[in-house]
């Protein structure tokens, strides 16, 4: 059974227009995904709809066959679906350590919490040096590391990461991609949204192309990388709708 199935989901913000116009995707356990597409295609919106942050206007999100689109974000998180938003949403006047501990907010077992914290430090040795620093004072790359480290605190089944390399220096971005690939090797199903499509697809198994709120194409990531149509999309020339159909 597929881990997550998104079926004909329509979603948008407030009273605004539909951003997702009926999108269907399937996430299989153990595969890593990269969702690409132009700005405004609905990539982030899709992740938000799955995470329970945004209620779909219609359609279904199913987790292991069970409909979950009425659940709150904390309930989705308890089900093992973790979302790391675009700009690292940290608690600015808490220390790095406190931020990481907040990632384990749903764990009531203090001992387990500290164990997980040590695991995060093992994965991100740089963070243990920043432990006592307030998150608001960190650089962009450091903040992204805290956000990623924090997402590991609950040992999620699915980790949905929205544009982790946004605004980061290439070397730092490279390190983040490295980490994301490592997560996949731990058995976490990674769903990545990435504006650097080439780099994102290179570190994933499967690619999904979104445009104008629905899925245009999907296939093995390396296949997409070689597809001239998709390459064109990312060289700045946006395909008109009729060209795709």
């Amino acid at each position: 059974m597929a881990l997550i199935e998104v079926q004909d989901v329509v979603a948008g913000y407030g009273g605004g227009p539909d951003i997702l116009t009926g999108v269907s995707v399937t996430i299989e356990e153990g595969t890593s995904y990269c969702i690409v597409g132009p700005n405004g295609a609905g990539k982030s919106t899709l992740l938000r709809a799955i995470a329970g942050i945004l209620k779909p206007r219609s359609g279904e999100v199913r987790l292991r066959g069970v409909v979950v689109n009425g659940l709150r974000p904390d309930q989705m998180l308890a089900e093992g679906v973790c979302f790391v938003p675009q700009d690292p949403t940290l608690f600015p006047v808490m220390t790095v350590r406190e931020n990481l501990l907040m990632g384990g907010y749903l764990l009531r077992d203090r001992k387990l919490l500290v164990e997980r914290l040590d695991l995060v430090y093992e994965n991100f040795p740089a963070l243990s040096k920043l432990e006592t620093q307030n998150a608001g004072t960190l650089s962009g790359g450091e903040q992204q590391m805290v956000a990623l480290g924090r997402s590991l605190m609950l040992e999620p089944k699915v980790l949905m990461i929205d544009e982790p390399s946004l605004g980061l220096a290439p070397m730092i971005a490279e390190m983040i991609f490295e980490k994301v690939r490592e997560f996949a090797s731990f058995g976490i199903t990674v769903v990545l949204v990435e504006q650097n499509a080439v780099r994102g697809l290179e570190s994933s198994d499967w690619g999904i192309v979104l445009d104008l709120g629905s899925k245009e194409f999907e296939g093995p990531a390396n296949g997409i990388l070689e597809d001239p149509r998709i390459r064109e999309l990312y060289l700045g020339k946006r395909l008109a709708r009729k060209d795709v159909r």
Partner: protein, 291 residues
Amino acid sequence: MTNFLQTLILGLLLGGVYALMASGLTLLFGVMRIVNLAHAALILVAAYLSFVLFETTGLDPILSLVITMPVLFGLGVGIYLLLFPRIEGTHRYVEMTVLLTFGLALIVEGLLTFAFTGIFRQTTPAYALDSVSVGDLFIPTGQLYASIVCAVLLFALWAYLQLTRSGRAIRATTQNRAAAQIVGINVRRTSALAFGIGLALAGASGSLISFLFSFFPAKHWQWIALMLALIVLGGMGSIKGAVIGALGLAVASAFVSDSFGPTWSPITFYLALFIILLVRPQGLYGTKLRL
């Protein structure tokens, strides 16, 4: 020198009560971005509750905290769940909360006038008119007791926010609502809890105020204006700022009142408000907000 110390002591004692009043208000703003214009009106509800208990059963107003705090807590959770989820996520949410709580303040004031008329009331426990003298200084006993209670409650609030799981959830929601949601905090439940706690603090303030000042239903406008000045000075949402702002301004107003006469003391608050808005609009401990 004696006069200086005397004024300082009176200012600090008054500041303690202001700090308690303002801490609830700033908590509501910090966690939920609610500007609760009904805060002082709800403080009055607690003051009247203490008054009724004192008149009917002779219950000491300080002891009546045990009743007013839970009653106002429950009222807070109820008000939050009944009114605020409806306007959540609307355009201009903060302005909407101002209108909504303004309406609430009018309703509460109307109900209080209906129940108690506009007569000045006050609870009169024996210590309210008493004072202790230390050397040349005299300390009003009622204000001393009230300040001690305030200090204890503010310390308890601090400990709760720092040390407990739900306290951490409240702080996290204050700092970044989106991030709180991401780490699995149920922000609506946390907001309802914070609203309850904010009003429990209002409940405690009301009981203390019942013997410190005489009050009538429309009195709350005066207090809310003063409290808003305090929390803007301290930085909206910052409890530390509210406490420091309250103590600082109460002392300043005590000195103004001593030098120029009591008529001039309220102006201290608004003058400070003007200056802080010009010099440091986010307040002493506030962060620049993205609303």
